[in-house]
């Protein structure tokens, strides 16, 4: 068992970190002030990262991606996590693994352009009445009798929906089959009857749009069906776990690291009562707890990723990582505000926005409560296999 990073992994991590610090973090203040990432800056960022082979690193090389293993993906995703969501999307691409389920014709139209950064994809599963309970969606795809469907319904909180060119949409094709009656469709922006609604403003994640989508008898053909009829829920379970581990868990670790870096430097600089506040033990406790929790977080993430690379079902471990890592981020962000005191609460420094950004991590991609339920049920079913070494 070797916990050391290989020289490639180190180089990869250092290169991505350098890119994030030099090219991305300087753009954050403007995004926070204006509420958006200027399109020309987004474009320049994309061009620079893709010239360095940093776009869609998670996708296999045969489709033009970087071909990173799950473990390596998590290592770079952690570094991405230092930056704001919108910057990560433009620089590195959120190319979802579910697109790997495309057939040959679909690949040319959706997967490959997404990997090249020519087209951007959003995942549209969440509905006002179907959040954690993704199988309870109401959006319907009714067979048109000619081999196609007409989609009717609505989605909300669809991340990056304003910018995206196409959407992976979940819809019920067989209302009598429960979760097995859900299918996924690739729906292009501009399809008749498909309306991108308003941007739902959020507490944090400034610069990333979260939109409502409306479908009014949107025509789709068999060429739009992803992975077979009734396969939707299974595909979601199969592929979104890795996305969750990367885009939520690994990035949350990166955010915690950035916050702790800031905390430590401030604890050494800020003087009260004639000495650096880092000399006070109550501050030291906050630092020590953060250090240990961050290291534990990363180990959970990498362990789950290692299972993915070995072809082992990692869903339980991803659930463990999801709520633990998200809650660690919440605690570290809270401590960072506390260590910075008034300056942590002041929007002049990144702490304030990171504190707001952190809150969603316990909610999106399955709440802490849902993931705890998954872990507890699995523990009662499998016992020590879930937490022991035997």
């Amino acid at each position: 068992m070797d916990f050391n990073l290989s020289s490639e992994q180190k180089m990869l991590v250092e290169t991505v970190r350098r890119f994030v610090e030099n090219e991305m973090l300087p753009l954050e203040d403007e995004i926070e002030e204006t509420g958006r990432l200027a399109p020309e800056k987004a474009r320049a960022l994309f061009e620079k990262s893709s010239a360095n082979g940093m776009y869609a690193m998670n996708i296999p090389e045969e489709f033009g991606g970087g071909g990173l293993s799950a473990v390596d993906t998590m290592l770079v995703e952690e570094q991405f996590g230092h930056a704001k969501d919108i910057l990560i999307r433009r620089a590195f691409g959120n190319v979802y693994e579910v697109l790997l389920k495309c057939d040959a014709a679909q690949r040319e139209r959706w997967l490959v352009p997404a990997v090249r950064g020519e087209r951007t994809c959003s995942i549209a599963i969440t509905e006002p009445n179907a959040g954690s309970d993704a199988a309870s969606i109401k959006t319907r795809a009714v067979a048109d009798g000619k081999g196609g469907w007409k989609i009717t319904g609505g989605k909300h909180f669809i991340s990056d929906g304003e910018f995206s060119d196409f959407f992976v949409v979940s819809a019920v094709t067989d209302p009598n089959a429960g979760a097995k009656g859900i299918s996924l469709f690739l729906v292009d922006k501009g399809t008749p009857g498909f309306i991108i609604g308003r941007d739902q403003k959020m507490m944090g994640l400034t610069g990333t749009s979260h939109v409502e989508l409306a479908f009014d008898e949107v025509p789709v053909g068999p060429e739009n069906l992803l992975g077979g009829e009734g396969q939707g829920f299974k595909l979601i379970l199969e592929t979104l776990g890795r996305v969750r581990l990367a885009q939520v868990c690994a990035r949350a670790v990166g955010k915690s690291v950035r916050l702790l870096n800031l905390m430590i430097s401030y604890a050494q600089e800020r003087k009260q009562f004639g000495k650096p506040i880092g000399d006070f033990q109550l501050i030291q406790q906050m630092i020590a707890d953060s250090v240990v929790e961050i290291n534990a977080s990363r180990l959970l993430v990498l362990d789950a990723a290692n299972d993915i690379d070995n072809g082992v079902d990692a869903r339980d471990k991803i659930s463990m990582a999801k709520f633990y890592v998200a809650e660690v981020l919440g605690r570290v962000a809270d401590r960072a505000v506390q260590v910075y005191g008034g300056m942590g609460y002041c929007a002049d420094l990144p702490i304030e926005r990171m504190y707001r950004d952190a809150r969603i991590y316990r909610i999106f991609d399955g709440t802490s409560e849902i993931h705890r339920t998954v872990v507890a049920r699995s523990a009662m079913k499998h016992g020590e296999a879930l937490y022991g070494t035997i």
């Binding site: 020289s7 490639e8 180089m11 990869l12 290169t15 890119f19 360095n52 082979g53 940093m54």
Partner: protein, 249 residues
């Protein structure tokens, strides 16, 4: 034309270094190490010469412990074709490195050696000069522009009064200053390829040169913290304080 680029593994420029508790040197245990930033500029320049079709091969060389392989892999990921580690656990000073690199430069038949102007750890700024002297090649230090043509290298140097341009016949030694170029990010494919590129290890002990240290470090300590200034009421008070307290008059 073969270009040789010596690279040094140093404490990363981002970290705050501190002396060892016994004052024998700088604490390097558990410290992030990276390629000396000026050497990165040198690698970048060599790779650009290769991309421009001027250089045929770029060889990176590092002298030191096995850990320097990591630094060499970085050079390979940036675009160097090959790497050579001259391995030794002896503490190497500038003259020793110059002697070792001389052997490599001659063996490799390098026409141009591009060094970083200095390493950010000891700031010695002498390896390139010593190397040129030992090889008996021309040298151009503090380069901000390098143009190779017709068996010569034309180097714009950053000197106190402005810029000076010199022309040297090849082979030559050039040392890179900060403004020579902006080093690239290693690309993902190149990072992955770096491991497949050849990295040869030679033993410094077999070079037949004396690498023993010439300079002895007596002690390394943190400079005393600067005290806040005071305001004086009159010139007379100032003179009195300079005389009696600061003792500089």
């Amino acid at each position: 034309m073969k270009v040789l680029v010596p690279v040094k593994r140093v404490a990363d420029y981002n970290i705050k270094v501190r002396p060892k508790s016994d004052g024998s040197g700088v604490e390097l245990a558990n410290v992030k190490m990276s390629m000396n930033p000026f050497d990165e500029i040198a690698v970048e320049e060599a790779v650009r010469l290769k991309e421009a079709g001027v250089a045929t091969e770029v060889v990176a060389v590092s002298c030191g412990s096995a850990a320097c392989q990591e630094t060499l892999r970085t050079a390979l990921a940036m675009g160097a074709d090959r790497a050579i580690l001259v391995e030794t656990d002896v503490e190497l000073q500038s003259l020793a490195v110059a002697k070792l690199v001389k052997v490599v430069a001659e063996k490799e038949g390098a026409q141009l050696v591009i060094c970083g102007k200095q390493a950010i750890d000891d700031d010695a700024n002498q390896t390139a000069q010593m190397l040129a002297a030992l090889l008996d090649w021309g040298q151009a230090t503090y380069a901000s522009k390098v143009v190779v043509a017709d068996g010569n290298v034309e180097v714009t140097r950053e000197v106190d009064g402005g810029l000076e341009t010199v022309r040297l016949a090849l082979p030559a030694v050039v040392s890179a200053d900060l403004r020579l170029n902006e080093p690239r990010y290693a690309t993902l494919p190149n990072i992955m390829k770096a491991k497949k590129k050849p990295l040869d290890t030679l033993k410094a002990a077999e070079f037949g040169v004396d690498v023993s240290p010439r300079v002895q470090t007596l002690s390394v300590y943190t400079p005393p913290e600067r005290k806040g200034g005071i305001k004086v009421g009159s010139v007379a008070e100032l003179v009195q304080k300079l005389k009696d307290e600061a003792r500089v008059l």
